[in-house]
Amino acid sequence: MARAAVLGRLSWRVADVVDIVEETSTARSLILDVPDWPGHRPGQHVDLRLTAEDGYTAQRSYSISSAPDGGRVELTVQRVEDGEVSPYLVDVVEPGDRFEVRGPVGGYFVWDPDDPAPVLLVAGGSGVVPLMAMIRTRAARGSPAPFRLIYSSRTPGTGVYRQELRVRAESNPGLEVAFAFTRVPSTATDAGRRRVGTDRLRESGWPPDLGPTCFVCGPTGFVESISRLLVDAGHDPARVLTERFGPTGG
C-alpha cells in the first residue's frame, strides 16, 4: 500500500496566496502557489507556519483539498473560535499574502488511485478536506473505484464544498454522497438526516465483506466514535484509516 519513496530534505517553502474561495461564513479555501512543489498524494497534509513581526511563530497542520496540479495547492480552513491560527487564515489573509508551508507529508492516510477497491469516506466538519482531495483525484485520474462519502456537519449551511459535491455526485459515475446533520431543526422529519450512527453507516456505506478501505476524518471525538462503529460492524481495523484533527477540528 504505502510505497516508500526517496524523499528530499523537508524544508519550509514560501507559499503565495493567489486566490480565496469563501466556502461558508466560517470556512474558506486558500489557493496557494508553492514554487518547486513536488506533487502530493490525496490525503496528505502540510504544516503551515505563521511568523509575527517580532519573530513569534505558530504552526498547525492543514490537509490538502486539491488533486495534484503542478504548483497549485488548495487548503480549506474552518475557523475555530478563540483559535490562534485558523481565525487569521479565515478572516485576515488576502490574495498576495504569503506564509510558509512544508510538505506534503503523511504516507498513511492516503488513497492510492491505482487501488480499485471500494472506498468509504466518512467526514465530520472540516474532516472532509483530505477526503475531497481523494474525490477530486479519483475524477482527474478516471479511477473506477466506487466511492461513497458520508459527510456530517452541524447544519446544511456549515458544510463546505456542498455545491461541488452535489454536482460531482450527479456527474462522477460511481460516486455517491450522503449528508448528515448534527443540529437540524426539530421540524426535520427525515430520519436519515440525523447524526451518523450504525444504521447510517450501514445504509450509506459498504458491507464489510466487500473489503472497502474506510477513511474517517474530523474532530477527535467524531473519529473515535465512527471508527469504533465501523470495526464493531465487522470492518477490518487495518482498513479503517483515521485522521484526527484535534478537539475542535471542525
Binding site: L10, G106, T242
Partner: protein, 90 residues
C-alpha cells in the same frame, strides 16, 4: 477534555524533518503491551513542551520528541522495534 490528541499521522512533518523516509507508515511494537501498529496510529499529545506519542492499546508512552531551535531529541524507549519501509535501492 479527553479528546485533546491527534493521530501519529499528524507528526509526519516533525518526523520527516529528521528522517529521510516517512516514519509514520513504519510499524512499531509497544514495550508495555506488545501492540503492533503504524506510528500513524499512535495517540499524540502536542499541547505540551514536546510531543508525546502513546500506545492506542495501553496508553503507555511510545516515544517523545522535543524540538529546540537547533536540535531535536527523540526518546524511543517505549518502542521495541520499528519496521521501516525503504525504497528498493535497485
Amino acid at each position: 477534555m479527553s479528546d485533546t490528541w491527534v493521530d501519529g499521522n499528524g507528526l509526519a512533518g516533525a518526523l520527516r524533518e529528521l528522517f529521510a523516509v516517512d516514519i509514520t507508515t513504519a510499524r512499531g511494537t509497544c514495550v508495555g503491551c506488545g501492540t503492533v501498529g503504524p506510528v500513524a496510529g499512535a495517540r499524540v499529545y502536542t499541547r505540551a513542551p514536546g510531543v508525546v506519542a502513546r500506545c492506542p492499546g495501553c496508553g503507555g508512552v511510545l516515544f517523545r520528541l522535543v524540538r529546540g531551535p537547533d536540535r531535536a531529541w527523540l526518546d524511543l524507549r517505549g518502542v521495541t522495534c520499528l519496521e521501516i519501509q525503504v525504497p528498493d535501492s535497485g
